[in-house]
Amino acid sequence: MNELGTIVGQIIITMLSAILVENLVLSRFLGMCPFLGVTQKTSTAAGMGVAVAAVLMIVAALAWIVNVTLLVPNNLEFLQTMSYILIIAAVVQFLETVLRKFIPPLYKALGIYLPLITTNCAVLGIPLINTQRGYDFGMTLVYTLGAGLGFAMALVLFSGVRERMAKSDIPASLQGVSGALFAATLVSMSFFGFQGLFAK
């Protein structure tokens, strides 16, 4: 019973820290390109966030399996980067094919964002972090779920800020990416308040 409590506690802590304390975008700067690129409208931001979260789960699971079964037993850690990126490219393409066949409306909504996920720092970063921290399979899934949710949430929040900014009077030099970065500073600062939430 005590063991179960510790495990559940660990899961909650890992997830919450992935979402709040070390938010993928706002604290670790992974996934900046879509953060600045697709957050002009909330609909596109939500689409991208959900797509990335879904791909992250699949990629992290597969990467863990490949790492533990193929790479580590054969002392091939140096192949990690290449294998992970291969997996990412393959998963994204596979997902695109499957979506196109079975859920066409979803494909139409997300379609244009799927190819962009391949070069997303976050999608390559999470398997690398999982490997670095030596998580087991369960923890990998928990952490990745948290990271994906945090990413989607950050994107949607920020798109709301940007939509509101677009309707205000802003000097020409501050329009577009530059103004967005100032807004991002404040959003990041607010998340910074979560540091130290969990005593390490």
Binding site: V92, P115, T119, L128, S178
Partner: protein
């Protein structure tokens, strides 16, 4: 009803000539500086510029990878089928990043420790795929290598400048050497994540003002924003329009 044979015309992109070396260098360093003008590769720009040596180190590592990958991709540009274009480029880039990763681990362990996962994350840096697609896939190996080098150096200059400002104002040091008078309290915020956004934002405002117009957006490649690209592929395996 209408078959391929009946289409009355074909759509062919005109063959472009490679730019002159001087133009390539100026484009990479100034006119199309990847960080400042094209807003590519934002992840390392924000993450790694907390200290000047980090910025310099990652910039140079990226420049090396960019040069080598552009060279090889350009050599293989007619061999790689259009449908698997992007995955192939990425794998080539990943190969070179792995090499650089281990070189850094061996010869610059301190740098490797402070850069952490941002070294393998060079693979996901938009700049490399963007240059591969926009330059290396069209032009010869030596122009491509020069373009890679120029873009890489431009990237390094941008990173190094931002890192210098952030370190001096945020930590009072430069390369670890104390630079500011003792009564100057460094603004630690600049070294923290929000400071990254702030520093980059200020840089972008200055760039916007200097160019009197929109920075990025229009030129940022499909890898960053599909709505604003000239070369958006319709799918990762899609050919060029």
């Amino acid at each position: 009803m209408s078959t391929q044979a009946e289409v009355p015309f074909t759509f062919v992109l005109p063959k472009e000539k490679a730019p002159k070396p001087k133009a390539i260098v100026i484009a990479g360093l100034v006119k199309e500086n990847p960080t400042l003008k094209m807003v590519l590769g934002c992840c390392p720009t924000l993450a790694v510029t907390t200290a000047a040596p980090n910025g310099l180190g990652l910039g140079l590592a990226t420049a090396l990878v960019l040069t080598m990958s552009n060279f090889v991709i350009s050599l293989l540009r007619n061999v790689i089928p259009d449908k698997v274009r992007i995955p192939s480029y990425i794998v080539i880039i990943a190969g070179f990043v792995t090499i650089i990763m281990y070189v850094l681990k061996a010869y610059f362990p301190a740098l490797d420790k402070s850069l952490g996962i941002y070294i393998p994350l060079i693979v996901a840096n938009c700049i490399l795929l963007a240059r591969a697609e926009m330059f290396a896939s069209k032009f010869g190996p030596f122009s491509s290598a020069l373009d890679g080098l120029a873009m890489g150096i431009g990237f390094t200059i941008a990173l190094f400048s931002i890192a210098t400002v952030r370190e001096i104002l945020g930590n009072g040091t430069w390369f670890g050497i104390p630079m500011t008078p003792h009564f100057f309290s460094p603004a630690v915020l600049l070294i923290l994540p929000p400071g990254g956004f702030l520093a980059f934002g200020i840089v972008m405002v200055i760039m916007n003002y200097l160019t009197r117009g929109k920075v990025g957006g229009d030129v940022a490649c499909a890898t960053c924003n599909p709505e604003n690209s000239h070369c958006a592929p319709d799918s990762i395996l899609g050919g060029k329009a």
